[in-house]
């Protein structure tokens, strides 16, 4: 069996991400030798790089990117609440039903780690006007090249972690005890670039303070049982980025991505990551997420990935539901061009750009694709 085909390595070496995280099964591999997947000792590596089916076959990992759309019922509930026809308690109950449904959907699809879908986030930054000091909510601004809008954060003072409403926005309480909990947060560079800076002299200073506040956030989330942190950095790839901004981002990740006690991913989308991949490989992360609908796969051929690569292969911005065989072919192109021992499949971005019924199908597609790839 060769689910991913033979892979060429230089050396095997195990490291642990955090000594105190004894349950962590994350390992960083600098592998050596030629091997086929059946040679991997799942007992040593625990949860990764592959999950194992009951038949003992290695299966690709899959997870969700972040924000999930609200169901039609929840859409109506939020509208009714705005119009004064539904109480806050009734609305919270409607949210809880959607959270439960999303958790079930991910469990049925055998995804790992699991997210809460950020269902009550009005945009990627809004919760941080409560969680952090120094942020006010500004005017509506287009979210990259989408027909959705966020309220631009106004950096009005020194950024610091305040912690107000942490449990309201990170619903670890509804995530199952078994399986890993993933928190999705804005990366410090994207956060800084998409805000209106009225307080800091330089972008780099702002990135640094945001990174510190994000680190404090992950510290609290880690205490609450979160084991996986994804920092979204679409601003790294949407437009051409300068060296100084890239360096500011890297220093930011040195602060927010290290010592979290869990696994850390840097997710990019809406742009081609190929031209900055060399720099990203110096970031202290365990996984880099790429948008296969915006990135030239062939541009990644020159790199050796000693970390996971999350392949954003399910298009979160088109209702066209891909076939598992199409995705198998796409992943084959990735494997033909990219030297990485650990691939994860996911949507290329949040699924919030899709209606709920389509997003559900895309989640199931991840599960079907894993089965087809492992055959």
């Amino acid at each position: 069996m060769a689910a991913l085909g033979p892979v060429l390595f230089q050396a095997y070496e195990l490291t642990r991400n955090s000594l105190e995280h004894s349950r962590s099964t994350f390992t960083r591999l600098i592998p050596t030798g030629i091997f086929a997947p059946e040679n991997i000792n799942i007992g040593i590596f625990g949860m990764g790089p592959f999950q194992q089916t009951s038949e003992g076959k290695a299966m690709l990992k899959a997870d969700l990117a972040g924000v999930f759309p609200r169901s039609e019922t929840l859409v109506e509930a939020t509208r009714a609440n705005v119009r004064g026809r539904l109480s806050r308690e009734q609305l919270d109950a409607a949210f809880d039903r959607d959270y439960a449904a999303l958790v079930s959907l991910q469990m049925e699809a055998d995804l790992d780690p699991i997210v809460d879908g950020q269902l009550n986030w009005q945009d990627h930054f809004r919760p941080f006007s409560e969680l952090f000091t120094g942020i006010k909510v500004g005017s509506l601004t287009r979210w990259f090249d989408n027909n959705t809008f966020y309220r631009q954060p106004i950096i009005s003072g020194k950024i610091g972690y305040r912690g107000t409403s942490l449990q309201r926005y990170f619903r670890g309480d509804i995530l199952p005890a078994e399986g890993r909990k993933k928190a999705v947060l804005p990366g410090p560079l994207t956060f800084a670039k998409l805000s209106q800076n009225m307080a800091y002299r330089s972008l780099a200073d702002l990135v640094e303070d945001l990174a510190r506040a994000l680190k404090d956030t992950t510290t609290e989330l880690s205490k609450a049982g979160y084991e996986y942190f994804q920092f979204d950095e679409p601003a790294l790839v949407f437009d051409q980025i300068g060296k100084e901004e890239l360096e500011a981002a890297r220093r930011g990740f040195e602060i927010c991505a290290t010592g979290t006690g869990g696994e850390v991913a840097l997710k990019t989308y809406f742009g081609d990551v190929g031209h900055i991949m060399n720099a990203l490989l110096d970031f202290p992360v365990d996984c880099i997420g790429i948008d296969l609908y915006a990135t030239s796969i062939e541009s990644l051929a020159k790199y050796d990935f000693d970390i996971s690569l999350s392949c954003g292969c399910v298009d979160g911005r088109n209702s066209l539901v891909e076939s598992p065989n199409d995705l198998k072919g796409l992943l084959a192109r990735v494997r033909d061009n990219v030297r990485s021992e650990q691939l994860v499949i996911s949507p290329n971005c949040d699924l919030e750009f899709l209606p709920y019924s389509v997003a559900e199908k895309k989640v199931r597609l991840l599960s079907e694709t894993r089965k087809v790839v492992s055959e």
Binding site: P69, L140, N147, L292, L320, V358
Partner: protein, 361 residues
């Protein structure tokens, strides 16, 4: 600019919910404010069981109320507040062929729209604004400007299944596939749906049509598609034509927007971002067209004072050099505000324009 909030009595009646006392109070209040001449007839029909005839007539009466509200606020150019359009995207899509609706997607906060996928080649089904326009033309006492959603926005706000699937086997680069498939989609919408609709409006006597293209600047590489589609659907039409674009980086429009043929006015949003300095772009690129100047923010409830509006207009005159180039309007449609807020903003818009005019003369 376009929309007003919907008449609650119309919504209650159409939904078969039963008309509430508050709906009738709304009718009374706004009939009095606007001079709406058909309050009694409206009350009578609202008391009748729903039928195709009562529905048709109530829609006309809602349109008439919209016209009178805008006229009573003092606007020079009116329509009917888009009283009978579901919404600027859903209305044309539901009345064209080739689309399937999958459900709601979020626009911002707790606001959503129903998003459709293009699942077949698009096609003309009906002139979806003709009945509405004909009625407005018969009843309006002021001049008319007809808002019509443009082809680029219709494409950008839809999922492109058909045109992407059609080309998929020819591409391995997804970026190129999506780009070329989008162009095909936009141009087919322009030729097969929007142009026939515009032609029928002009034939029926429309003298000014505004193409609403809020999505025009969403993807900067595709701005030439928006220009190409505008030209495709308006070629040869004998009519004043303008384009409305809002909540966008207007610098990205240039220089492409200079290639819009037969477009005499750019109706732009400024109040939301206090972005009046962006008017300098017209000077920088020697764009001598008229400007529809957005002077009230349609996403906040604060009602701008006439003096603030006057100051905004005066600043625009200073930048553009010629007050004759300036038409004053809200940033965008007012359908997300209450009737009270919408009306107050419109009345102050008119007062602010009058103050500016006084100072200029």
């Amino acid at each position: 600019m376009g929309s007003l909030p919907k008449a609650p009595w119309l919504l209650s009646y159409l939904r078969g919910k039963g008309v509430e006392p508050s709906d009738l109070d709304h009718l009374t209040k706004w009939s009095k404010i606007s001079g709406f001449e058909a309050e009694s007839e409206t009350r009578f029909i609202l008391a009748q069981p729903k039928s195709p005839d009562t529905e048709r007539r109530l829609r006309e009466l809602a349109s008439l109320l919209g016209i009178r509200v805008l006229e009573s606020a003092g606007l020079d150019y009116v329509y009917d507040g888009e009283a009978n359009r579901i919404e600027m995207y859903e209305h044309p899509i539901r009345n064209s062929s080739g689309f399937r609706f999958y459900g709601h997607v979020r626009s911002f906060d707790d606001r959503y729209y129903r998003k459709a996928a293009c699942v077949q080649k698009v096609g003309f089904r009906t002139a979806y604004h003709l009945v509405e326009f004909t009625f407005v033309k018969q009843r309006a006492k002021r001049k008319i400007k007809v808002p019509v959603t443009g082809p680029y926005t219709l494409a950008e706000w839809s999922f492109n299944e058909f045109y992407q699937k059609r080309l998929a086997s020819q591409y391995i680069d997804f970026r190129k596939l999506k780009f070329d498939a989008k162009r095909d989609f936009v141009l087919d919408l322009a030729r097969e749906i929007v142009r026939p609709n515009l032609q029928r409006l002009v034939e029926a006597g429309a003298e000014w049509i505004q193409l609403d293209e809020p999505a025009a600047v969403t993807r900067k590489d595709e701005i030439p598609f928006f220009v190409e589609a505008f030209n495709e659907c308006t070629a040869g039409l004998v009519c004043k034509l303008s384009v409305h674009i809002c909540y966008s980086n207007y610098r990205l429009l240039y220089p492409h927007i200079l290639d819009l043929k037969n477009c005499s006015q750019l109706a732009l949003e400024f109040a939301n971002r206090d972005a009046y300095n962006e008017l300098k772009l017209l000077h920088e690129f020697d764009d001598k067209r008229e400007v529809g100047l957005g002077v009230v923010d349609v996403h906040v409830d604060t009602v701008e004072s006439p003096e603030l509006i006057r100051d905004r207009i005066n600043y625009a005159v200073k930048l553009l050099g010629d007050p004759e180039r300036i038409y004053v309007n809200p940033d965008c449609g007012l359908r997300t505000r209450t009737w009270e807020i919408s009306y107050a903003k419109l009345c102050n818009l008119v007062k602010g324009a009058a103050l500016a005019q006084e100072q200029a003369s």
